[in-house]
């Protein structure tokens, strides 16, 4: 299945977090790898949007859009750090 990267979901991440997130860093809860969200492996129609760790391919984020609601699953992320601007 074709993948893109986190750059492609900058708009979606902005919807979820209310700020620019592609330069934020996330830590994989499984392997501990830290990367900027732009570097995540992204599946756009999985269904829903799925981001995986580039190091171990664990699922980090799942965002599904149902009617006007975003359902956000972040279980795979141990930590996210981003600026407060």
């Amino acid at each position: 299945m074709e993948t893109v990267d986190g750059n492609a979901i900058g708009g979606l991440l902005y919807d979820v977090f209310g700020t620019e997130m592609t330069a934020a860093t996330g830590t994989c809860a499984r392997c501990g790898a830290t990367a900027q969200l732009a570097e995540f492996v992204v599946y756009l129609r999985a269904p829903g949007t799925v981001a995986r760790c580039r190091n171990c391919l664990a699922v980090l984020m799942v965002v599904t859009h149902v009617r006007d609601m975003n359902c956000v699953d972040l279980r795979g992320l141990a930590r996210i750090e981003y600026g407060r601007t």
Partner: protein
Amino acid sequence: MAATALRGRLSGSTAVAPRRTLTWRLASVTAVTEETASVRTIALELPDWPGHRAGQHLDVRLTADDGYRAERSYSIAAAPGEAPAITVERLDDGEVSPYLTEELRTGDQFEVRGPIGGYFVWDSGANESVPLLLVAGGSGIVPLRSILRHRARSASTVPVRLLYSARALDEVIYRAELAELGAGVEVCYTLTRRQPPGWSGYAKRVDDALLAEVAWPAVNEPLAFVCGPTPFVETAAAGLVRLGYPAAQVKTERFGGAGENDSGRPGEAGGR
């Protein structure tokens, strides 16, 4: 009456910051430029556009008569300070790109939001001593063109090398513009499928040997931006790391497989 009072109370509260969202705005097409047989640059007029950084994206939303909506993310082709423009490659089985490249006319309107992205961006003046290596596969040139225009417009003297891989010369986007970049910018092409007679550029896919020839040596501590189809970016970025580039100095943007169905593929051209 009660509702009015309640609204007044809520809007008067300062305890909770308003949730920030990207606003969809109606963009008007001011020009459509044919770049290659399948690629168009669409110049946009966007009232209240807040400005953008080189390398950022915008999201495009098209709504069909029956309410069906399709969204795609595109790299902004224009430099900061210029009116936004996107460059779109038509994918034959695409959902959005055939409309944008074939149907769209000057004066047409569609919804746009942005700018988006803070990772794959370059600001001139941030560090004039760091040379730039730009590596493009196909329409991956789009955000790099924004960087190049930004460099020129801001009179930056940052040394730049651009390695641009395309299938054939007539598929090279912005060819005339890239020929006139002037001092401080070296452009190397590799044409992977067809080369014109007498072609003196490279004629193979990007690999470690080609990168070793073209890329700044790692000791110069360059900053690299690599954009293209996912397999292209994987190869080029891994090759640069093998050449000694720190991974953090290799910014990457992947827009999927080349020439495949664009549904669910935001980066129809240049990450968008």
